[in-house]
Amino acid sequence: MSDLFRVEGLTKNFGGLAVSREISLAMPAGERLALIGPNGAGKTTFVNLVTGQLQPSAGRVVLNGEDVTGLGAVERVRKGLVRTFQVTRLFSDMTPEEHVTLTVLQRERKATRILSRFRGNAEVAGEVEGLLGTLGLLEVARRKVGEIAYGQQRLLEIAIALALRPKVLLLDEPAAGVPSSDTPRIEQALERLPPELAVLMIEHDMDLVFRFAKRVVVLAAGEIIFKGVPSEVAANSRVREAYLGNYANARSVA
Amino acid sequence: MTAGKRILGAALGALLLGTVSAAADTIKVGIIGPFSGPFALQGKNFQAGVEAYMALNGKSVKGHDIEVIYRDLPAANPAQSRALAQELVVKEKVQYLGGVYFTPDAMAITPLLKQANTPLVIFNAATSAIMTQSPLVVRSSFTTAQTTSPLGKIAIERGVKKVISAVSDYGPGVDAEAAFKKAFEAAGGQVVEAIRMPLNTNDFSPIMQRVRDSGAEAVFAFLPSGPTTLGFVKAYNDTGLKQAGIKFFAPGDLTQESDLPALGDGAVGLLTTFHYAVSHDSPENKRFVEAATKAVGGAEQLSFPSVGAYDGMHVIYKMIEATDGKQDAQKAVDAVKGLSWTSPRGPVSIDAETRHITENIYLREVVKGPDGKTYNKEIQTFPNQKDPGLATQ
């Protein structure tokens, strides 16, 4: 098969409880796939299984024709399977420029060097500047992350991911927690992602999903209940049930 | 205004003159000891011995005033020991060094003595080998081998043939084990088992179980004085070894007077050998105990390091007398070689060859006095004991 990335029958049990059941999906290069689902559908577990934070009980993760299921999180990143985090995980004492520089150096396997300067490489510096420029982070490049706006932190998450030159990118709710005034900038960044990159986006914001995704997968109770194009999602009865059932529950609790 | 200035000037002048003249005539003695921390009691006894000597014998020798400078070295720490000694010699300009509780601390000072032209009088550190490190060291205390060796004969005399030895696993403990084994086997006994206990042992009942299982008729023990001793003796009583008739021999570190109140009645009957008991019956000791008790601040705190310090000060006074205030370490040491006097512990002398003290070792039994308090009662004397550790070298 020519798929860049696919998962086959991914299953995870915690004790007796199945949090992921027989999940299979495939992505060619250039894919823009959105994974949606109500709270507790198992999206985060899925991301963790794919990126290697969790080991599946059954199933395979295949990248570029290679089975990476047995590999740890770090090796998968090195093979081009990269993620962002739902809640930003950044180093509050470092600047965006330092984050991206470190990431580029790491990608080049130069990050464990002791006998070179952190900013000693002009080529790296140029790439970093380019990335930060693309994401509109140049003006805050040398301020500590703890002091910049949350929207900018989210953009930095994407910049870090891109600095790793991924083949497959998992965006875990890239717009979560961002004030609506800043969402256009995130959207813009998503539009500018390299075209050949396969992107799997997990998102709640349906507007964003509809504008971004070519295809949509809906997850509920650990299972895929829908695969298709965005325009069909709303009409699907199982999806409606999953969401509205959830909604009804939410109503009764309130 | 002017009058005030004049008075001030005069006062300053007097002050300056005073210090200058005093400095010219003051001989400084630096004392290093554990004055704080886990061994603070021993350091306090150093101070008590020094102060008692100066109270009884005056604070000057041949017109030279003696000034004592104390420096704290809470635990064995050679680097700090060297730093303190260096400071005392170079900065405070002391002409004599004294004190030192731990062997490694003494070892760190000995390489300095020649350049410093300063003798070191050791008040406690009890390893034989220190004396060979420098010809400028004199010791006024004891060595573990010296206080332990008579026990070999004593055990045999009391009908004991098989002994189990239990010592703390560190230098002095190992020395004690070796010295006892040598003396006991020379006298015809047999050490059936030798246990070395980690220094930080808190519960000694498993050791006592081993003592019981070994079938020995007596236990020979050495632990550093302090809390561990208490645990050991308690366990010896609690586990019924005492009632079972297993005898207990140890050097006197185990029944130092300041630990006796804590040991209580459990200590009664313990047999120890040592160079000094606070109860020693002599006029010299009465004077000493009176003065030292005053200095240490309570009779229950007085213990053996005080007498080492007291006699150490005696040695230093004699050195000052011989050199008449001039700094000449070799002459000072030569002057006390062969020196003999009556110490609170009994007759003593400095061995001319080893520079270590020759003294009586006493066998003591812990008994209950008429006031209900326990004390070490001297019941047998082994006169003029040298350090067997040095003699063999």
Binding site: F85, R89, D93, Q106, A111, R113 | P78, V90, A108
Partner: protein
């Protein structure tokens, strides 16, 4: 630029110590040896976020290695320092391998267990280490064949100061290298670092080795200048004290390590000379006061003061 100024300041302070306290050089040399130990802790605690109460194991490894080499005829000081650094690095490798298996409190306890085992091993191997009597009889040859390690301790002090400055410069390079940044990242969030495609364990282990070498140099310096190695150099007490010095000075700046060591040891020396019997209370009060006044350590306090100074100046401009 700031670092150049900082290093000039260290050299100046070192020389000031030499001129102002010419009679306390042995103490100052000891301060330098401990400062190296505290620096090595800063590498692990301040830059990697690994808590340790057992760093003296590495210091002691360096001290004993240098001491044993010296007793066996290696008397050239620089060689001894190199031996100490090597031994420290090997010990660091071992310690890191064990400690990095755990996190948090468990890690702290592993470090304690390791230093206790080292201590016990040094006590047991008394044939080589002298046990509790200490390893004595180190006669170190003159530095460069000329300068003797003598009573006055000028050689030892200047040698130590030079070592400290060199190590400090080297460490400044280390912590500002890509590797140093990576360690800082791991300290803040190891999961993020993994998501960047970097392993955590080998990076931290590398820092343990570097830290071990630094601690080992400190140990070797202590051995050379004291000419005796005691069990205290592999003790929990030394480990705990030096961690206290580091926290006192402030973590993760390297400067804090130096400030903390000098303040703690200087204060301890001063109060224990004034009252050899009850100085501990004063040291305790100092620690409490620092926590109340400057929870981030003394260097953090300095930074705050300079930062507020800058801010006011900036405001005027």
């Amino acid at each position: 630029m700031r670092d150049v100024a900082g290093i000039v300041l260290i050299v100046a302070a070192g020389m000031a110590g030499y001129w102002l306290f010419p009679d306390n050089l042995a103490l100052l040399t000891r301060v330098i040896a401990v400062a190296l130990l505290v620096l090595s802790i800063d590498l692990i605690v301040g830059y990697c976020g690994v808590a340790t109460l057992g760093q003296a194991a590495l210091f002691g490894a360096g001290a004993y290695a240098a001491g044993i080499a010296c007793v066996n005829g290696v008397t050239e000081p620089l060689t001894l320092i190199a031996i100490g650094a090597l031994a420290g690095a090997v010990a660091g490798l071992l310690m890191g391998t064990i400690m990095l298996r755990a996190h948090g409190l468990a890690q702290l306890v592993l470090s304690i267990a390791i230093v206790q085992l080292f201590h016990e091993a040094a006590n047991k191997a008394s044939a080589y280490t002298g046990g509790s009597d200490g390893l004595a009889g180190l006669t170190v040859g003159p530095l460069f064949g000329v300068f003797e390690f003598d009573l006055w301790g000028q050689t030892a002090y200047l040698f130590g100061l030079a070592l400290l400055v060199l190590v400090f410069i080297a460490l400044k390079f280390v912590v500002s290298s890509p590797f140093g940044m990576l360690c800082r990242g791991i300290k803040e969030d190891p999961v993020r670092i993994k998501a960047m495609g970097s392993f955590v364990f080998p990076v931290l282990l590398k820092m343990f080795v570097i830290s071990g070498a630094v601690a080992g140099i400190g140990g070797a310096l202590a051995a050379i200048s004291t000419q005796v190695v005691g069990l205290d150099s592999v003790s929990f007490e030394l480990s705990a004290n030096s961690l206290v010095m580091l926290v006192l000075g402030g973590l993760g700046t390297l400067y804090g390590a130096l400030v903390g060591t000098v303040i703690f040891m200087g204060f301890e020396h001063a109060v224990s000379a004034i009252n050899p019997f009850h100085w501990m209370t004063m040291v305790g009060a100092l620690l409490i006061a620092v926590v109340l006044a400057a929870p981030g350590g003394l260097s953090g306090l300095l930074e705050k003061i300079t930062a507020s100074g800058k801010r006011t100046r900036g405001g005027r401009a």
